[in-house]
Homo-oligomer: 234 residues x 2
């Protein structure tokens, strides 16, 4: 059998199933026919049905359990899946020219709050790097970053005057686990100065903790410039 237009593809099945869900034909909580039956109705193999339903489940439309079958999810806990672009790409996509500037870089013992946050031992050495990212001379992001020296010893020799610590890290440490937090914070004098804002202004802020196989690698606090909006399609 060929797979050209006379064949039912897993994409066709996905579309059809989605349409039935959306139209209310298959309402929330409904148990849908098992793969074998669907394979017959779609006149294809169970393998193909399986792929379609598996992907729909990954996308949050269905719930599948062995023996229990496949059912339509009632509360569509859709997962927003947005990519975290590199700053340079993001700025260039918005039509700006990316420029980077190092503010400071120094080794120091981890402050208490950082030690607590990353489960470091008291007084463990960290590299504290502060830098700016500009979009055509407009401040785009102020980055305040700490890198755990024990986890990335090479950081002692790193030169952050030309390359940003994030770029350096992704080249050096193929990172594994990341915890991302977004919040609205108030610009203190330092942040306001770098981002060219009035003090006290709301600032969209991201915190990013990175581990390499259980070892804390870096904590970054990223303050975005005025009017920043993070958008995603779901």
């Amino acid at each position: 059998m060929t797979q050209s237009s006379d064949t039912t593809s897993y994409k066709d099945i996905k579309q059809t199933v989605l349409r039935r869900i959306r139209s209310g034909d298959w309402p929330p909580d409904m148990l849908l026919p098992n793969e074998q039956e669907l394979a017959v109705t779609f006149s294809c193999t169970r393998t193909t049905v399986n792929r379609a339903l598996r992907e729909l489940a990954e996308e949050g439309f269905l719930e599948r359990r062995r023996k229990a079958g496949t059912r339509v999810l009632s509360a569509p806990q859709r997962q927003a899946r947005f990519s975290i672009p590199l700053i340079r790409d993001e700025i260039e996509a918005l039509g700006g020219t990316y420029r980077y500037a190092l503010v400071s870089s120094e080794a120091q013992p981890a402050p208490d709050w950082l030690a607590a946050r990353l489960a470091l031992s008291a007084g463990q050495q960290v590299q504290h790097v502060r830098c700016m990212h500009y979009s055509t001379n407009t401040p785009f992001q102020y980055e305040d970053r700490w890198i755990v020296i024990d986890s990335v010893p090479q950081v002692a020799q790193a030169d952050f005057s030309e390359i940003g610590p994030n770029d350096w890290l992704v080249q050096t440490v193929p990172f594994t686990n990341v915890e991302l937090t977004f919040l609205a914070s108030r610009a203190d004098a330092t942040v306001a100065g770098f981002l060219d804002l009035p003090e006290g202004e709301p600032v969209f802020t991201a915190e990013r903790i990175t581990w390499l196989q259980g070892q804390p690698v870096t904590f970054a606090k990223l303050y975005f410039g005025a009017g920043y909006r993070m958008t995603t399609q779901v």
Copy 2:
């Protein structure tokens, strides 16, 4: 052939490939062997290799192109995939008790900025619903929502005094397209009042536009209470 422990599963392959990428064994931009070769080295079928590599590509580690082959992505633009929980679930997960209160609900012509945002015709009627979500009497979120009446005519009969507009919508218009935006805004007098904050305080804000098959359904502006943090693992 069986698939028990003597067989190589697609998960094994994913792990092995990931390990090689992380260890630098397969550096960024490297072209990896084609599926047939990998199938031989892993002693499994090409089907199994295909699934492993396909998923790794979806997860952002590899780039695959027909004829060109599979290569390691240099800047692993990992995609944060975080689920958007229902407010009730989120509050209860944090140990609070969810409480809902309607502030106002009235039909009105769409204001210009909204008409522009949703591509409505001038003066199209919308239902403007404002409400509060509390976590054990602490303000958790102030919701300012507009629902396009032409897209959801049933909204005229809806009673939002007990059920929140979001819950009502997911029951009524199940699966839709969503554009989500996050930003930091400044609490104006209204928002400050509802969230029990000083005026001018930074507020983590989400904007949510929902379409049903190209038709605009609703625009919601969600103002989160003091200290709100949105966290996700990547």
